[in-house]
């Protein structure tokens, strides 16, 4: 992969003391619009935006441009994308310093994919497997055991999926994103590619469950 470091960054990091200020101003001049866009994306009034903007600039300058020096142009990222990510992280740091950290429920939750898959199977119009409405062929005392067995089968089936397939299920059935948005996140050419992949993943899960004896209750 070729170098993606912009010339203004190389110039700044190589500059001797007398030229450093001009090189810094050049770099910021070229990327001000992006940093401001990141600062604005967290909301708030103009003062809040400008405070974030100034904070980001201050942090980028800190310790002889330590953060800017950490950019590696062989890591597969362009400088502008990296700068947007770094600026957003700094803005969030500032926000947390003011207001504390808000962790959404299930911020890191290993059952997310399993929950999404359960929902997927119960929603899918083509799916005959409904893990919540299987027939009560056993006594109620055994229901817990059956349910546990069923959930374990689903967990095992999910292990056979690729990380990308599990991520796809989460985006669609946990976050309930539209296919167009999922295509953007995953870098797929169109929403049709998303539907095609989803159908394949759900078919694979259904096949796995049916092979373990978890079958259609209605047909």
């Amino acid at each position: 992969m070729g170098s993606t470091a912009p010339i203004e960054l190389s110039r700044l990091l190589r500059a001797d003391e007398p030229d450093r200020e001009a090189a810094w101003e050049d770099l910021i001049g070229r990327h001000t619009r992006l940093i401001l866009a990141v600062a604005r994306s967290l909301g708030g009034d103009n003062d809040a935006v400008m405070e974030r903007y100034a904070y980001v600039l201050g942090k980028l300058r800190e310790n002889d441009f330590r953060r800017l020096r950490s950019f590696n142009d062989n890591a597969g990222a362009t400088f502008s994308t990296w700068l947007a990510v770094a600026a957003r992280r700094l803005c969030l740091d500032l926000h947390r310093a003011h207001f504390g950290r808000h962790r959404p429920a299930h911020a890191t939750d290993r059952s997310t994919v399993w929950r999404a898959a359960r929902k997927a199977l119960s929603q899918s119009s083509e799916t005959d497997v409904d893990t919540d409405t299987l027939p009560d062929i056993e006594s109620s005392a055994d229901e817990g055991v059956i349910r546990e067995n069923r959930d374990q089968c689903l967990r095992n089936a999910l292990k056979n999926l690729t990380p990308r397939e599990r991520f796809l299920l989460t985006l669609r059935f946990e976050d309930e994103l539209p296919a167009s948005k999922i295509a953007t996140v995953l870098g797929l050419p169109s929403p049709f590619h998303v539907y095609r992949k989803l159908n394949a993943v759900l078919a694979s899960l259904r096949g796995e469950l049916e092979s373990k004896g978890i079958e259609n209750s209605h047909g």
């Binding site: 101003e25 910021i28 003062d47 400008m50 990222a77 911020a107 990380p163």
Partner: protein
């Protein structure tokens, strides 16, 4: 996940093994998913905006070439109302901040860039008009030097003048800020 890895994911430059690890984490972490998607939106908007500006520049350049090349078009263009330049006709320069009361130092002045500006002159005064500090810059942001002390509870005014190559200027007008510890 590091900033570089997130950026590489957004640029589709992550290696397979890292990609699998990253998507595995994303499928379990709502906070990282949210952060990734919001960053992707900003980067996407920024790129669309850059493309729009580049396209606009090309169209304007093509129009300028056409006006120079075709005399009849030039005459048609000349029949339009003349464009006024200078202090009276130009739109004011936009000042971003500081505006109002601030409580942290250093003070960073930020304003929008002006087309054709060769340099910017910033002046900070007390509200009685006494000049506190003045400087010139080619950038659209400067930091008030640490040797310029601001008095707690005092109101200050700042103004930026953009100076073009033909000598015309555009001003932000006076903006007030105050410093309170």
């Amino acid at each position: 996940m590091t900033d570089l890895e997130i950026a590489a994911y957004l640029d589709r430059g992550l290696q397979r093994e890292k990609l699998d690890q990253f998507e595995e984490h994303l499928s379990q972490c709502a906070e990282c998913r949210d952060n990734l998607m919001r960053t992707q939106e900003v980067v996407g908007r920024s790129r669309r905006s850059s493309r729009f500006i580049r396209s606009g520049t090309i169209i304007l350049a093509a129009a300028a070439v056409a006006l120079m090349a075709v005399p009849s078009l030039r005459r048609w263009g000349a029949s339009e109302a003349p464009v006024m330049r200078g202090d009276n006709g130009a739109a004011p320069l936009v000042a971003y901040g500081p505006l109002g009361e601030i409580s942290t130092l250093p003070v960073r002045f930020v304003w929008a860039s002006a087309r054709d500006a060769m340099s910017y002159r910033i002046t900070v005064t007390r509200d009685d008009g006494t000049e506190v500090w003045a400087s010139s810059s080619t950038d659209t942001t400067v930091i008030l030097p640490s040797n310029v002390s601001l008095q707690n509870g005092t109101n200050y005014l700042w103004v930026v003048d953009a100076v073009s190559s033909d000598g015309t200027t555009r001003s932000t007008g006076n903006h007030q800020f105050g410093f309170a510890r």
